[in-house]
Structures are given as structure tokens and as C-alpha cells.
Amino acid sequence: MHTTKIFIKKNKIGNYLKHAREHYIRDDIYCGFESCDKCTRATSNLSSKHVNKCNLLKNNHYLILDTNVILDQIDVLDENVIGNVIILNTVLKEVKHRNMPIYKRLISIIENPSRHFYIFVNDFNKGTYLKQELTELINDYNDRCIRKACSWYIEHIPDETFVLLTEDKNNRAIAQQEDIPAYSIVEYVQNLTANENLIDKLAKKEFQEKFNAADIFPPHLTIVEIDKGIKDGRLHQGTFRASRDNFLEGSVNIQSFEEDVILRGYSNLNRVIDGDVVAIEVFQKDQWVSPSELVLEDDTVNALDDNLERKELEISKQRTSKKNIKPTGRVVGIIKRKWRQYCGILQEGSAAVYHLFLPADRKIPKIRIETRQAETLKTQKIIVAIDSWPRNSRYPNGHFVRALGKIGDMKTENEVILLEHDVPHSQFSEEVLSCLPKLPWLITEEDEKVRVDLRGIDICSVDPPGCTDIDDALHCRPISDDKLEVGVHIADVSHFIRPYTALDTEAASRSTTVYLVNKRIDMVPDLLSSNLCSLRGGEERFAFSCIWEMDHNANILNTKFHKSIIKSKRAMTYEEAQLTIDDKTQTGSLAESLRNLNKLAKFLKKRRMDNGALVLASPEVKIMMDSETHDPIDVEVKKLFETNSMVEEFMLLANISVAEKILNDFPDCAVLRRHPEPPALNLEPLVKAGKHLGFEINIESGKKLAESLDQATRDDNPYLNTMLRILATRCMLQAVYFASGTFQKHEFFHYGLAVPLYTHFTSPIRRYADILVHRLLAVSCGADATYPDLMEKKKTAELCQNMNYRHRMAQYAGRASVALNTHLFFRGKIQDEKGYILYVRKNALQVLIPKYGLESTLYLGKKDEKLDIFTYNEEDQTQRCADVVFHAFDPVTIRLSMDSKNIQHEKFVLQLVFPVIEGFSVPPLEDVEMPEPEIPHKKRKK
């Protein structure tokens, strides 16, 4: 039972309060060695089978690490070469305290049994506990504890060798005096047998060769100086955003200025990297500049070239137009670095061991790394981490972390997309998997008692083809002559994912399932997403049902919610459902209920439109994959059926009904979704575009906007309306989740759907918000118990923030994946396609090619200069060449090809085919059948 023997009081003084805490010293802590007969056995991953081979030591040995080794060199520890490592609890605690992400990585290494890491709880062990001296600094105390543990091990297991690795010279010296073998990790790794690639992974604080180079950057202020400066009002704090196009420019958003502050040039940027929180000084007004339109790429290839002047010159040459000046300033200090690991490629052209790394993210500067395996890495996508950016170096110093795979490989590129969008995509941990129900999963009598049995009802699901995570199903049946019962049944995911479990924490962290073109990254493990929660046809499943009584005009007479057991009769695709509805010979109850649903949905949709819901458009494409090679074989626009709209209407209705219910019962902590009205400024491009075409777009309200969009049609260009809607979609703000207690009631409004309240209830398999909503609703109707965090609006707000972030990232990742596959599809192809002009710009036309949902730029000349045959009219937004005039939304024919010169950033090259412009357009490809496009070059009257 209680084996505690000694008892020592620890005092902590702070705020003049005396706290006493107990510290139990134990005699039952296992040293981790199987050969030991002095200790009580427990589990340990240390193994005599693993052998560390290092030229510094004669024998196999066990490693004890100092905190600084873990913090600086976690990438080295990630490698399988090093094993049999003892992590002292003192060290573990310090790592956790100093750097959470590194702590998490360390834990995952420790938990991997093949790595042979072991945590030794030295601070609670009788033989290794030390008391902190009154005047002793915490660092010295920790070092002493680490050395004590080393000597204890040496004495405890005399047959084995123990080695302390530490970066601290002082600690190393004392250790050697105490007869503990001690080395620095650099020394150790360099002497490892088979170390080749490991050396590359050592973090570089400083490159040896550059030791005495002159400083080229001004120094950063210390935190104390920054604090003082901010208090005085001389300095401002903000987050740095690098420019995508110009590597010598960026901006900082600070509170006291309405506009972003521009930073330009090497020394003003002063080693800041996108995302860093910085302290800046704003210049006097006479030094302000306007944002440059210049596209500037860092084209240096020599890793050791630290000459800044050439590029600086280029940027200073640019004349500032007085008209558009913005606040300008410079970075004086870094408050918090937001460095992460970056995906990218090695730049060709460097010799020797120093290389420049080219990040995939254009906003990140090139990084200097040292590697001896450049030849192999050149063909790979790799990950690099930044270690430091000293004043005498033009580039940040970093080290190679790992290779992702061959450039251009589908698997590699998917990995890059996931990493760059911060999508958690590792395998689910054992701990998470242990929370899953055991198979075979059976419905018990208990379950039947608390759930409404709907297994007898004809329920079916309608989804896109190939869908395996089916989270919704529907039914509809007449209950009297003038009444229908309609049910929406949603997978009861919250039954399986219980609060305060590892599974729940993981799902909350992921927040959403991410769909790439050929890969799905699940929010919850496969067993739930594709099996137990998926409402598959013919199988008994738990559901959360929302049941309405409606009349034949889709007026809701009564709403109820309950948990249920259902058995879907059939999982249908949209197309199958559509065929069933249309096929008059089918008179089964399923067909009848689908017809009724479809009829009701039309009423619902009409009512929604009348309220001013917006019909927005964004070209959604589907990429057809070769089932064998997983190469894209065709790209096509998604087909929509009436049944798509039918399912959507009932999902919207369910979400609205649930939102009303949970807000009513939990005014403070309901999870809702709001869509703010876009500010007039955002809608300006839309209004302008409308004006040029002769339509008045009214943006007074969502309803007015919807009406004016409906009226903006022209018979000679049926696609025009869609184009306007695409434009409108881009002017909208993002819809976001929020906790009801954190906003005012009038802000709950969902602008796009034109409803006062909205939430997400219908996709709990792939969205965490829906799980929270399910839990709230379950409490609401007495089907489940509550828990403290669910009722706390602060907790809910935190979750919402994460969900919004993950959601956005998932969207971006999805789009990046479509773009990648479209690129792959077009590689080596040349095609003439019909397109529409989306915007007219100063030196280019932005063209949309609906067939591929693709948008690209047709330059009217070279990149920065413009062919003088075109005249740009800023007022009308037109480009004219002789009698050809380009307006926004005009149809054009375009030749599409792919420029693969830059392997990281492939891009489409567009050439004009039609209308014909002498000396500019290209003749049509012969084998392509050319549809005769409408004539765009007749001047239209406004």
C-alpha cells in the first residue's frame, strides 16, 4: 500500500506567502534494467539487444541526456540510430516547461518501444533525490540532480557504461571530475559509426566558417528594452506578415494604426520571418512609402554569399508615388519567434556542404543548411528547421530534418500539403484507439430501453458516390391526410466519443476531416468513421433524430429530438435517388418518401430564397483518378442533381431547428455558426463589375443583393450570372463557429443563409462542432449527462477558435490538393479551352476556365511591362486593342499549357486564341474542334 518512508518539506516563497508541499521519496522506483535484481520490476523499453556504437567509447553504452540536448537536437533524437536512452524526470519536467511541442515529440519517441527510451523518476527515488540548497539556482540544482543520477546508475549497475550528453561545458567538466563520462552531442554524433546523415540533423547555432564575418544586420533590442519602449509608446507590437511576391517587403498589423505598417529592405526587416511577433518603430511621415507592386525573388544561389547591396539597390530604385503612401517602419526586436518546420527543396547550384533550402511557402526566406547528402536530397522534398539567424548571416541557419520523398510523387506532395496547412495527420495513437468500442459491437437491451426504436421505418441515405462516412439519413411518411412526418437521422457519434477521453481530445484537436483529392484524413478513427457511426444501408445504427410534423406546404407543426436506433434501407447516391424519384414506375414506400421529401424541399428552398438567402457559386470540380496508378485522368465540374438540393434543404432545416433548441436551453454556451455581413468595401469589386455590365447591384442587405443577382442575366452570355455569383462568393467573409455567450444576439445572424440562428448538427463524423452540438442537444433532451467544460463559455470559445482555424486550413489544403492534381493532369498537355474574363487588370486579364474550375492570368505582354498595343481604361475596366475590347465576363478562347520550370511552383501559361489579335494571339490547335464563341469584340452599349 503505502511505502513512503522519508518525507521532506519543500517551501516555496512567492508573494510573501509560504507554501508547503509534500514530496514523497520512494524506494520502489525501477531503474529500467532487466538484469537488475535490486529493484521492483516494472515495464521498461531499455534493451540489451540495442547497441550504441560510438568511437569515443569502447563498449555498448546507455545515454543520459541533459535538457539542452533535447531542446536543441530533437531532430537527431528522432533518428533510429540512437537508442537505450535514459530520460531523467528532472529533464523531462524541464523540457515540458520550456517547450511544449518538443516535449510532445519526446514523449512520442519514448512511447515507441523500438526506440528503447526509458523515463527514470530520479526526483522521487530515494537514491537520487537531492535537496535544493537555499541559494542554489534552479539550473545548477538540475545539473546536480542529473549528475547524481548518472553516478547512481554507474554504481547501481556496475556492468554497464553510462554516458552523459550535455551541451553545457561547465556541467561536462564537473561530470568528468566526478568520473562520469560526458560528451557534447556534436562530439558524440560525429564519432558515431554510421553517422553520415545524422550530422546533417545537428542544429546549427553558428556556422564555423562564418565565425568572424562582419555583422550585416542591426542588433535586436532585449525584451526589457522592448517592454520599456512599448510602455513609452515609442515601439509597437504586432505580427509580421511577409509579402508573397516581394521577399524584401512585409507588413505588421498594430493596434494604434488603422493601416498595416510597411517594412521594406534587409535592415528594416532585420531577420524577421513570417508569423513572428515583433516590436517595430514607425518612421516619421516623410519617410513613408507606398506598397511596391514589384515582384522580387531572391535569386541568389551561393549559400555563402552575404552581400545584400545588389537587391537593396533594386528596391530603392523604385519611385514612390506620393499618392498612396502608408505608415512605414522597421523591426527593432523580436518578441516571439513563430518558427516551425518548413517543407521545400534544395536549391541547385551550391557546391560543398553548405546549401540553400527553398521553402515551398513563398513567404519564408531561403535557409542555409549543411548537408553531405545533397546529391540524394536534390530529388526529394525535404523538411528543414530554422535554428538561428545571427547578425552576420544573410540567411537563417537551419538543419535538415527529414526527407518526405521524391519530388512530384503523389504521396510526397500530399504530405507537403498536409504539413504546410498544419493538418494533424499522424496515425491515431494507441491511447486513442483504446477508447474505441470492442468488436463485435452489439446493441444491448440497455440501449433499446433509452432509445426510440425506428428500425421499422423506411429510412435511407443520399450521398455522393463512394461515400463511406455517411452521417445523415432521411425518412418521410404520411401520418394523416394533411400531415407528414419527416425525420433527419444523424450518426450518434457522441455516444462513442466521450468527454475527457484521449479520443475526444484528439478529435477536438483535429476538429475536422480533411479531404484531399485522393486521400481522406479522418477526424476520428476508421472504425467509427466508416463503420460504427456510418449509417450504412441494411445495418442497425445509433442515430440522433430530429423529427418534424409538417403539412404538405412544409410548414413545421411540431419538432422533437431524440436518440434512436435506425436501420437504413438503402445508401443511395444522388443520381440513384434522382432516378428513383423520376422513374414513375417505382411506387415503393422508399420512392414515395423520396418524392415527398423532394416536394417539401422545394417549398423550403423557395421560402429560404424569399427571405433573401444568397445563391453563391464557386466552380467545384471533381478529379477523376485512375484506380491503378492514382494519376488524375480527367477533371470535370461536379454534376448537381435536384436531390443534392433536397438533402441540403433538410440538413439546413435540421441545423436551424437544433440551433434554436440549444440556444434556448444554453444561452451562454451554445455552439453556433455565424456569417457576418460583408462590409461595403468588400463588395465594391462586385458592384463595380455589375456597373460596367450595366447592372445595378444593390448591397443594402442580403435580400437586396440576392434579388439584384437574380436579375443580372443576359441572354447572349448565360454564364455571366454564374460569374457574378463567383465574384460575390469571393467578397464574402468566412462563416465562423462561436459560443453564444461571447457575442451579442444581433451578431448571431447568418448572412449567406439569411437565418437568425444557425449551427452544425448534421456531420458529426467529420466535424467536431457537430459533436459539441450533439452533446448539448443530448443534455437538452435528457439523453445524456453534462460535464463542466461543456457549460463553460470560455472553454467553448477556445474550442471554437481551434475549429475555425482547422476548418480554414482544411479548406486551403483541399484547394491546394485540387490545384496539385489539375497541374499533374495538365503536365505536358496543350489544350485550347473556352474561358471567361473575371477581372481586367493593368497588364493582364484574369481568366476563369469553368471546365476545370481553373483561374489563371493572361498577361498582355511580359510580366511587368505591357505590350503597347493594348490601351487600359481604368474607368471602364477594359483593355482595348484596335477594335477588340475586353470587358469583364467576356468569353475568350485560351490556350492552356504548363510551365514546369520551377518545380516547386508550376504554373499555367495562358495564350489568347480567340478573339484574334494580330501579333498577339496564337492560331487554334488543329485537332481541337473549335466552338464558335460569341463575338466579344463588338462594342457594347451600356
Binding site: 503505502h2 509534500e22 514523497y24 466521450r498 475527457y500 477521453t501
Partner: protein, 255 residues
Amino acid sequence: MSRKELISKVGLRLDGRRADELRRIRCKLGVFSEPDGSAYIEQGLTKVLAAVYGPHQVRGNRLKAQADAVIINCQFSMAVFSTSERKKRPRGDRKSTELSLHLRQALIAAIEVEKYPWSQIDVYVEVLHADGGIFPACVNAATLALIDAGIPIKEYVCACTASIANNNQAMVDISHEEEILGGPTLTIVALPMSEKIVLMEMSQRFHLDHLKSVLEKALEGCKNTKNILDQAVQNHIVDVGASTGWASTGEKVKR
């Protein structure tokens, strides 16, 4: 949703205990000569003194006296120096009154109340140092003091706390540090031998999924506490016996 990790990767709590280990309990009976019974208990750093007077005639308002049961009067107080910030009122505030009532309820369950009609027993408990689980320590101290006073009880009445660590592991005997960092705390008073729960209190609501395991942990804690108290009582008897000439028999008991 994760609060601070209260049980580390290797299964130890912040102070080095495992999930099912109680803090060290040290106790002594008969620490004062003035009252009829007294006891001192240390549970970790929580220290409590208890004194029992009676049974004696009902004092003050005689009308309160009952024909079928003894009146139990409890008073809970905390020394001004018992917490890290000095307390302004040692007794009489809302919390003290509430704990006094709870203590009374706990003791009524153990004392054979019908043995002393028309009489009264006074129980005073004072917390000298508070480091989590003060109410359980008070109950345990009062039990010992009752035994010291020779008042017949049905069985030991013991109390213990339990909570949830890392969102899903039940742990017993919650220290002050864990109370602050962790989630809700469950306090139970039980008659461990008959496994009856006398009183149960939660600082916040528990998730239903966890209640059972936390309750089991707390009950187990009560049983373990009882064993320790029982040992202390036996040692006390031996000591008392030794001084009154039962030395030889006492020695036997000890072995």
C-alpha cells in the same frame, strides 16, 4: 479540454504518490488532559486537533434535550495561521457553519445516540494547517477523540476525498495543490466496515462516466484510513495499558 497533467507519464502524482496512495497519516489519541477525549491527526500537511466533552447534561436551553437520543454539538474552526494567507475569522463564517453541520451528521451516524438520552456531547475540531482534505481530517480526528472519550460507537466513521486526474484516472486523497489544479473533488464520509456512505459532497459536478470509479476510490481510501486509525487506537491502548500495569498483556498485543 485537458487540464494540467496530475499524474505523470510514469504514474506518479505531483508529490510522488501513486493514484491509490493516501498521504502519510500520523495520529495520536489523548493529547489533552482537560477534555474527556482528544486526538491529533496529520494527513499529509493537513493537521487537525479534536476535543470531545461529554456526555454531560444539556447546557443552555434545556428544552433542546431529547428523550431518545443524545444531542451532538459540533464546532469547526480554522486557526488563523492554518492557510498561507492569514484567515480573518477563525470560526462562524458560512463555510465553518456548514462544515460543523456536516461533521455532526457524520458523527450521528457512528455514535450510539440512544445510549445517552437527555444528554449532550460537544465536539470541537480545529484545523491547524490546511493542505487539502480538511473535512476528512476533521472527521477522522473526531472519531479518534470519541474513542478516546470512551463514547460507544457502532464502528469507525472515516472520510476521504477522491478526484479525476488527466481527465480519466481516479485518484484518492487530494492535496491542496491537486485541488487547485485539478477538476472536481468528491468527499465522502463512510462507515467502512459496513460499507455505508454517510455523506457525500462534490465541489463541482462530475461527468457521470467517472462518478463510479471516483466513488470506489474514495471508499477504498476510507477503508485504508480506517485500518491506520485502528492501528493507532490499538497502540494507544497498549500505551495506556502499560502505564496502568497491563504491561505484559500489552506487550503481547504489540507482537
